[in-house]
Amino acid sequence: MEAFVKPGEKNRLKERPERPVKQELQPRVVKTPDGQEITVEPLKDYYCEAPPRVHPPAYAKIVEDLFNWARAESLWILGFGTGCGAIEMRPLMTPRFDAYRYGIQWRPTPRQANLFVISGYLSVKTLKRAIRSYEQMQNPKYVVGLGSCTINGGMYWDSYNTIKRLDRYLPVDLYITGCMPRPEALLAGFLELKKIIKAGKGEGANRYAENFDWYKANQKQVIHDWDMPDYSW
C-alpha cells in the first residue's frame, strides 16, 4: 500500500532497510598505470550529485509572456511510451489528427523534449525510467498524465506493481481522463496545456525542484533500487 504524504509533511512510514548498493556502484580499488592504488567511488566520481535548481522566470513580464507563448506553441514530446496509452499517441502523427499543426513534435531524447506524456499505467519498473527521463529534460518541462491509470491507478488500483497517483512522483501539469482517452481528447488536452503554459503556470519543473525531497521520498518508497545519486542529471 502506498502511504500518502503531503508536500512538506514528514513521512510517517517506517524507513525500509537500505538495499545493498549494486556491485558496479560500490567503491573499488584500482591500480593506476604507475602502480598506485586509488579508490574509485562511482556514485561520486561518475555522477553529478548536485540537487536540481529552481529557475524562476528571470525576464520582464512581456518577455516571459513571449517565451511562454513560444514554449506553448512548440511542444516537443519525449518519444517514450510508458504504458498501453502509448498506442493512442501514434495516431496523432497521422493525417487524420496531424498534431504537427499545433506545433507538437516528437523528440527521441529527453534532453531535447519538454513535454513528457505518461501514457497510461506506470509499473514501478517503468516509473524509475520515467523519473530519470523526466529529470534529464530541461526546465521548463511539462508532464501530462494520460488516462485513468495515472490519476488513480484505474483498473490497476490494487496492483502490486503499478503506481496509483502520478502526481506524487512527478509534477503533473495536466491529466487527460479516459481509458483510453482518444486522440481527440489528447489534442484537446494539449491545447489546454498550452493555455496553462501561456498563463505562466507551467512551472512543474520548479515545483519539482522546490519539493525535491518530498518527491524523492515518495519515489524511493516504491523504487527500492534507485541506484544513482538522487537527481539524475
Binding site: 513560444a70 518519444g79 531524447t109 534532453r111
Partner: protein, 301 residues
C-alpha cells in the same frame, strides 16, 4: 576583391536574409513532406517558435569544454561557409567574404562545423553520439567523392577555381549553365548532394530511435538552438555552392530564392520516396552509381 568595412553590414544582411529564408524554407520543405504523407504539417512559422523556445529554455548542462564549443564550431562552420561564398552574382557587396578564398576554401570549410560538432558530441561521453559520428564520417567519405570529382571536372572545364568566375562563365541564358554544358558532373554532384543533406535514404546517422538522433543526442537548450540556427543556414550555404557551380548562380535575391528552393527540393523529393540505407549500403550505392558518373565526368572534360 578586397575587404571593405561596408562588407560587414552586408554580410549581416545576407545572414539575416538567409536565416529567415532558411527558417521558412525548411518549414516549407517539412510541409511538403507532410503533404506527401497526407498531412498539413507544421505551421510555416513553426521553426521561429522552436528556435525561440530553445533559446529561452532556462536550464542547461554541460559535459565539458569541447561539448560547449561543439555548437559554436558548428554554427561558425555554417555562417563561415555562407560568407565565404559569393551569394549574389554581380554584387560586390553580397559577395561577402569570398575575397578570402576560392572554391577550395568553401569545400574544405564544410568540414569545419562537422569536425567541431563531432568533437563536442564526443565529449558528451555518449556512445550513441560516437556511433552517429562514426556513421556520418563513414558515409561522407564516399558521398563526397562524386562531388569532388564533379568540382574537379568543372574547374577544369572553366579553368578556374574562383566561384565568381565560374558563375560568370555560365551567364547568358540557361543553356550556358553547367547543368547543360557538363551534365555528367552535375548528375554526380547532385547524387552527392543527396548524401549530404541528412535526408532519406542517407540519414542513418540520425536514426532517431536506434541511436536517438546520433551525434547531437545530448544537446539541448541554447546549444540545440545554435545547431538549429545552423540547420537553416548550412544547407542553404551548401546549396549556394551548388547553385553557383552548376545552375548559373543568382544575380538577384528572387532568383536566389527560387534556385535554392528548387535545388533543395531535389533532396526532399528523393527523401520522401525512399526508405533508409544502412551505412555500408549507402557507401556501396555511391560507389556503384555516383562515382562512375563522376569519373566519366572528369574523363570527358
Amino acid at each position: 576583391m578586397t575587404f571593405e568595412w561596408m562588407k560587414i553590414p552586408f554580410a549581416l544582411l545576407t545572414l539575416f536574409i538567409v536565416v529567415n529564408y532558411g527558417l521558412l524554407l525548411t518549414a516549407l520543405m517539412q510541409k511538403i513532406a507532410a503533404r506527401v504523407g497526407g498531412r498539413y504539417g507544421i505551421p510555416i512559422y513553426q521553426n521561429y517558435i522552436d528556435l525561440l523556445k530553445n533559446y529561452a529554455l532556462r536550464s542547461a548542462i554541460t559535459h565539458g569544454f569541447m561539448f560547449y564549443l561543439g555548437p559554436v564550431f558548428r554554427l561558425t562552420g555554417g555562417v563561415g561557409l555562407l560568407l565565404f561564398v559569393p551569394t549574389i552574382y554581380g554584387s560586390a557587396m553580397f559577395s561577402n567574404m569570398s575575397f578570402a578564398g576560392d572554391l577550395i576554401l568553401a569545400l574544405y570549410f564544410i568540414f569545419f562545423g562537422s569536425l567541431g560538432m563531432a568533437l563536442g558530441a564526443g565529449e558528451s561521453g555518449h556512445p550513441y553520439s560516437a556511433i552517429g559520428v562514426s556513421r556520418g564520417l563513414s558515409q561522407v567519405t564516399m558521398a563526397e567523392l562524386p562531388l569532388a570529382l564533379a568540382v574537379f571536372a568543372i574547374a577544369v572545364q572553366y579553368q578556374t577555381l574562383s566561384i565568381t568566375e565560374i558563375v560568370a562563365a555560365q551567364q547568358g541564358g540557361f543553356l550556358h549553365w553547367t547543368l547543360f554544358t557538363n551534365p555528367l558532373a552535375v548528375i554526380a554532384a547532385m547524387l552527392s548532394f543527396l548524401g549530404s543533406m541528412m535526408r532519406p535514404p542517407f540519414d542513418v546517422v540520425l536514426a532517431p530511435q536506434e541511436i536517438p538522433i546520433g551525434p547531437p543526442t545530448e544537446y539541448h537548450s541554447a546549444y540545440l538552438a545554435l545547431m538549429q540556427t545552423n540547420r537553416v543556414i548550412f544547407p542553404i550555404a551548401k546549396i549556394v555552392i551548388f547553385m553557383n557551380l552548376f545552375f548559373g548562380g543568382a544575380s538577384n535575391w528572387p532568383v536566389f530564392f527560387v534556385k535554392v528552393f528548387a535545388i533543395y527540393m531535389v533532396s526532399v523529393l528523393v527523401g520522401v520516396v525512399f526508405p533508409r540505407f544502412r551505412v555500408e549500403q549507402s557507401i556501396r550505392w555511391f560507389m556503384v552509381w555516383a562515382v562512375p558518373i563522376g569519373i566519366a565526368a572528369i574523363l570527358i572534360v
